[in-house]
């Protein structure tokens, strides 16, 4: 459904070129929930924004993003406008993503009016039905954002995202800043939505609950893509292992060292300086290996070179 090939997003800054996304390829299949996990600064949000072409002007983007047979990177702004919200919708992070002086109902109805040219009344009716489906109550469409709690605001954003019935949804850190029980509510909501989704998060519990497949990003690269169940049972890449072991329920074990700079990332494997298994060969870029249908970028799994 969505195919990303050799995507690179570089930013020119006064300190040098930041390689936020550096040669990423993956494919999201129709109907699946595909989750990108990684820590702040790994490039996952930039990757998602590049799909909708929402990046600032100093971003240099190369590679291909194929959606319905067309490369989104080659489309004109007018064509992109018809895709945004209608075919591919974006669910932003909850903080300050809503207009404080408009009712939430109107904000959710905007995509419907824009893309289907319907009148306000019928658009609001559609939104009211959606609010009911999400357990918020019809009456709340005439409330303002400040009258909602953090968890409720996130639901409003989800409602806004799917109001124009898009085929593909991108959710950026949908559980950020929410406490445990509200994260559970959002997870339940996501399980209810039957759409193709690209989810970006560093909330591993949430990822485990809602995803079909997991892609792990580290320092601008995807280091592993695995089905969610297998990933949480047995992660392949040393960074994936480290990430899971830093969960309180799995030992609260920190990964040694710090994330490297994105301006001058280490040569070869970018995780090698923090990796307990690193060898001489890791100074060379690791090839992509396929292990039981899972993709991993680490010399340990390469056919030749490790032993």
């Amino acid at each position: 459904m969505l195919k990303v090939e050799e995507l690179r997003v570089h930013f020119r800054t006064e300190f040098g070129v930041v390689r936020a996304v550096d040669g990423v390829s993956f494919e999201v299949e129709r109907g699946e929930k595909f989750t990108l996990i990684g820590e702040s600064g790994s490039g996952k949000s930039v990757l998602a924004q590049s799909i909708l072409r929402l990046l600032p002007k100093n971003a240099y983007v190369s590679g291909r993003i194929i959606f319905e047979g067309r490369n989104l990177l080659e489309l004109g702004e007018e064509e992109m406008r018809r895709i945004r919200g209608r075919k591919i919708a974006w669910i932003p992070q909850s903080q300050s993503s809503l207009n404080p002086v408009l009712t939430v109902g109107l904000q959710c109805a905007e995509p419907v009016m824009e893309h289907f040219k319907t009148d306000k009344k019928s658009a609001l009716l559609k939104v009211a039905r959606m609010f009911e489906f999400f357990g918020m109550g019809r009456g709340r469409i005439s409330d303002y954002p400040h009258q909602f709690s953090g968890g409720m605001r996130q639901r409003v954003l989800v409602a806004m995202g799917i109001s124009a019935d898009p085929e593909f949804l991108i959710a950026d850190e949908p559980t950020k800043g929410l406490d445990a029980s509200k994260r559970k509510n959002i997870a339940e909501l996501f399980e209810k939505i039957d759409k193709t989704m690209l989810i970006i998060t560093h909330d591993l519990e949430f990822a485990e609950r809602v995803s079909d497949r997991i892609a792990v990003m580290y320092c601008g690269e995807v280091v592993e893509i695995s089905p969610a169940k297998e990933f949480f049972r047995e992660p392949l890449h040393p960074y994936s292992k480290g990430l899971l072991e830093s969960l309180p329920s799995r030992g609260l074990k920190p990964i040694i060292g710090f994330q490297p700079s994105m301006i001058n990332p280490p040569s070869g494997c970018r995780f090698r300086e923090r990796c307990e298994f690193a060898k001489k060969i890791c100074e060379r870029a690791p090839p992509e290996s396929i292990v039981d249908g899972r993709i991993v970028r680490c010399w340990m799994y390469a056919e030749r070179g490790w032993a």
Binding site: S181, H202, S246
Partner: protein, 235 residues
């Protein structure tokens, strides 16, 4: 060591204070020397208010707070300041906890200066020692908060909290704004200092799994009341 008895705090909001919110509703709590008590609850359950009452950053409407048997609710001004040397807060968001116009060095030095405990050369030695202990480098000291990552900032906040050798620290969701692997290293750091110096912690979090790892005892708070207490087996 620290004891709160029958604490209650009501906030009045709305027009003419017409709306009343009972943030803390008759809570009693006791924290022993070198013990970590985790306070777990949803946002809005009153756990941060309780933490701030124990530090006397918020005065309770009812109830008393004892530190080494001294009733803090009776103290004012200078007397309170003297006791406060031994109590610290590590707030939730490290980006808001440090003055953006100050270099990291000055932020860490501030408590030492306020309490006039050391002279200039001792101050520098002490700060270098602290910075090393929390895993920062000397070069971080001359930077401003926006030049540091979330994890580095939280380390600086911890260094500042440790500057006066406190005996009691309220950690108010110290890792909720941090990445997972950074959370693990910050929590491990806090646990290390507890072992080294025998500090008591009130560890406020909404993550029960995290509470299970760090705490000797867990208190669950809801709507201003402590609704459950449990003792954790050491892990």
């Amino acid at each position: 060591m620290l004891r709160g008895v029958g604490l209650r705090k009501v906030f009045k909001t709305g027009l003419f204070g017409g709306k009343r919110i009972v943030a803390v509703d008759g809570v009693s709590i006791e924290i022993e020397e070198g013990e970590t008590v985790a306070l777990v609850g949803e946002s809005g359950s009153g756990k941060s208010t309780l933490g701030r009452i124990l530090l006397m950053l918020i005065r309770p409407d009812e109830g008393k707070v004892f530190f080494d048997g001294i009733d803090l609710t009776k103290l004012r001004g200078k007397e309170l300041k003297r006791v406060r040397i031994k109590m610290q807060l590590i707030p939730q968001n490290p980006e808001e906890a440090l003055d953006p116009r100050w270099r990291i060095y000055d932020s860490i030095a501030e408590p030492l200066r306020i309490h006039k405990l050391v002279d200039k050369s001792e101050e520098e030695d002490r700060i270098l020692e602290l910075v090393k202990a929390v895993g920062l480098k000397e070069e971080h000291l001359t930077r401003y908060p926006w030049q540091l990552s979330g994890g580095e900032l939280q380390r600086a906040v911890i260094a500042r909290a440790l500057a006066l050798n406190p005996r009691f620290i309220v950690c108010d969701e110290p890792t909720s704004m941090l990445d997972l692997s950074t959370q693990a290293s910050i929590v491990r750091l806090l646990m290390k200092f507890q072992k080294m110096f025998g500090i008591s912690y009130l560890f406020i979090t909404h993550d029960l799994e995290l509470a299970k790892v760090v705490a000797d005892r867990i208190l669950i708070m809801r709507s201003g009341k402590i609704v459950a207490r449990r003792v954790e087996s050491p892990s």
